[in-house]
């Protein structure tokens, strides 16, 4: 024991050992003699490349990383199925920034920057043109449905008593709004499905989890390490070269957001595009709020990455028609109580914006697009945030998924229309609805009855053509494993034995 201690004291190297190591190494010896080498006839050079990969404008990316991305896109193009692509993109277990709505105040501008969206007041022109074209005879539908819906609202308010059923106030409110909204929605859906074939074949879901991830370009931030594990940092430095591109660049972040959507309706074909891609709105400026997610109150954590649009692969209804949120959600009401009415309004817009963005991105992933493969046609959805009385309408159009490019390289932006504070009725007095607003009811009807269109473009351009799509697949359960037993004669080498 003592001997080992003594030895260790003598052999211990100083910390700056590498600096002094030059004194201990062997000296070099020089001579004029030159060793002759045999000449190699076939000289091998690396293949000649152009400086930048072809096909795209790369912006502020370095050449090395642009080539890396170019190689990855071609690698993904070879993958035949959507499952493989998503699995490949989510395979790395690095830190990502988790964005959560309805938590902090003053976050709307940040969400707009991260998702690259322009906010537009009012609603797109599709809804105003629906009346002129005479697709729906709105007045006839309103006269038919108005008494039914008023009756439903009155019943939910007065005639049914469920105060004893739920102890917590927040749960009581949420369930009350769910029932109230169902009372307004289901008669509309039932009545319109007689006239429209697409409504008949639509799917109605409740409590759907929607998750999506994306990569965003931003300014260079210093990364502050708040974790208490120092050894992890040293290990990370070593592995930095092996990382994929998105995590090696200091100004590229991977974001993820997930929401629980109370009610969703899906249809077979995509909705019509609200604005063509050449429009000025799609190329306009958007609000910049380029800060690190740590500054805005979010965390960079090791979370399992996922892409979930709320249905399985192979579902016949792969496109979103409508998603309905609760504007008197418990988190939102807490935010209203702490920070006031103005912050509540901002948070409500952010809630509608983010859910529609997440849903469209995850739908695009299921059609074969992703962060590397850019959209060839815009994805559109509609959302409604309501508590039964107050309705706020959102319409969203996803134009790009190339958010990792700088703004000059990719001029496209996403779009979100919003109109808030539409009251369906003024109040309920003595068990009767007063001041029923027909204009709000008409917009609700238009949202539900917007017809999906055959756009005349290839919906899945990046998926292989020959193989059957998951929609057409009939045999979901794989066949049982068959055991094949092969019997062969063993022939011995007799000459050896002798």
């Amino acid at each position: 024991m003592a001997a080992s201690l003594v030895r260790s004291r003598f052999i211990k190297f100083p910390p700056n050992f590498l600096y002094y190591s030059c004194y201990f190494t062997n000296r070099r010896h020089y001579s004029a003699q030159v060793q002759l080498q045999e000449e190699v006839k076939e000289v091998e050079y690396p293949p000649i490349k152009p400086r930048w990969p072809p096909g795209q404008v790369w912006g502020e990316l370095s050449e090395k990383n642009a080539w890396k991305i170019y190689d990855e896109t071609q690698n993904i193009m070879t993958m035949p199925t959507v499952e493989e692509r998503i699995k490949h993109l989510t395979s790395n277990e690095n830190k990502i920034a988790l964005l959560r709505t309805r938590i902090n105040p003053k976050n709307l501008q940040y969400f707009q920057d991260r998702t690259k969206t322009n906010l537009v007041d009012g609603l797109p022109d599709v809804y105003s043109s629906m009346e002129k074209d005479g697709v729906l005879d709105l007045d006839a539908v309103v006269t038919r449905l108005r008494p039914i819906i008023i009756d439903g609202i009155e019943m939910e308010h007065d005639k049914l008593e469920r105060s004893r059923l739920f102890w917590a106030k927040s749960a009581k409110d949420m369930i009350a709004t769910r029932l109230l909204l169902k009372q307004t929605l289901l008669p509309i859906r039932g009545y319109l499905s007689g006239q429209n074939a697409h409504m008949q074949r639509s799917r109605f879901d409740e409590n759907v989890r929607v998750v999506a991830f994306w990569d965003k370009y931003g300014e260079k931030h210093k990364r502050i390490e708040n974790d208490y594990n120092r050894n992890a940092r040293r290990r990370r430095k070593k592995d930095e070269d092996d990382k994929p591109v998105m995590f090696n660049e200091p100004y590229l972040y991977r974001f993820q957001a997930d929401e629980m959507v109370p009610i969703q309706i899906r249809v077979e074909n995509p909705l019509p595009e609200f604005v063509p891609l050449n429009n000025e709105l799609c190329l306009g400026d958007y609000p910049h709020c380029d800060y690190s997610p740590i500054v805005m109150g979010f965390r960079r954590v090791k979370e399992k990455q996922a892409c979930v649009p709320g249905f399985n692969l192979g579902d016949p209804c792969e496109f979103g028609l409508l998603s309905i949120l609760f504007s008197n959600d418990s988190a939102l009401m807490y935010l209203k109580k702490c920070y006031g009415d103005l912050q509540y309004k901002e948070a409500l817009i952010a809630y509608g914006l983010m859910t529609s963005f997440i849903w469209t991105v995850s739908q695009a992933h299921y059609q074969g697009f992703n962060t590397f493969l850019e959209l060839t046609y815009p994805f559109t959805t509609q959302t409604i945030a309501a508590d039964g009385q107050n309705f706020s309408f959102f319409a969203y159009q996803l134009n790009t998924l190339h958010l990792w490019k700088s703004d000059e390289a990719n001029p496209r932006r996403n779009l979100c229309w919003a109109s808030l504070d539409n009251k369906l009725y003024d109040k309920v007095e003595n068990g009767k609805v007063k001041g029923f607003n027909d204009d709000v009811f008409k917009t609700l009807l238009k949202f539900v009855s917007l017809k999906p269109v055959d756009r005349g473009v290839d919906l899945r351009p990046y998926l292989p053509k020959g193989k059957p799509l998951p929609v057409d697949c009939k045999e979901y359960i794989p066949k049982t494993v068959e055991k094949i037993i092969v019997e062969e004669k063993i022939i011995y080498d007799e000459s050896r034995s002798n």
């Binding site: 910390p15 700056n16 020089y30 902090n104 105040p105 003053k106 931030h221 800060y291 690190s292 500054v295």
Partner: protein
């Protein structure tokens, strides 16, 4: 920063680092106690990251909560506050000057990010005067000289050779 880890065995700790004595539990009907001079303190610091104009960063007493920070600013300094977030940070390592191993750490500290309301903005003032261009040039020159010196020291045994062959 003063290191209390070394002083852990001793009795004396500076007043601003001491633990805050517990506030007596209030029972209905008892007389309410009031603290006029709490042991709280807040130190404004320059943020390490780029921050929005309505945010201010502090290092505070680690026992202060978010509500404490908010009330401290609103009631004493009359500054409107929208939101406060806090997080604990680890202190830096203190290494042995020659041996290089870690002896202790500096104390952990709490950082408070304050969001101002009513459209108020704050910019951290530039306390130190900027260096003149001549001074910057001199600094760069010293750096280059030092680098050359190091290179020369490394090649001391080949000093007799001309620099091309070293």
């Amino acid at each position: 920063m003063y290191v209390t880890r070394i002083l852990a065995g001793r009795s004396w700790i500076p007043l601003w680092k001491r633990k805050i004595p517990p506030y007596p539990v209030y029972v209905q009907g008892n007389p309410q106690n009031r603290i006029f001079l709490p042991m709280f303190w807040m130190k404004m610091v320059k943020p390490e990251l780029k921050t929005p104009p309505d945010s201010v960063q502090f290092i505070v007493h680690p026992q202060m909560s978010r509500l404490d920070v908010k009330q401290y600013l609103e009631k004493i300094y009359k500054v409107p506050v929208l939101n406060v977030r806090t997080s604990m940070r680890q202190g830096k390592d203190i290494t042995h000057p020659s041996d290089g191993h870690i002896i202790t750490r500096e104390d952990d500290y709490k950082v408070a990010f304050v969001q101002l309301s009513d459209g108020q903005t704050f910019e951290f003032p530039n306390i130190f005067i900027d260096k003149s261009p001549d001074e910057k040039d001199m600094e760069l020159m010293h750096k280059v000289e030092a680098r050359g010196k190091k290179k020369y020291e490394r090649q001391y045994d080949r000093a007799s050779l001309p620099p091309w062959f070293r």
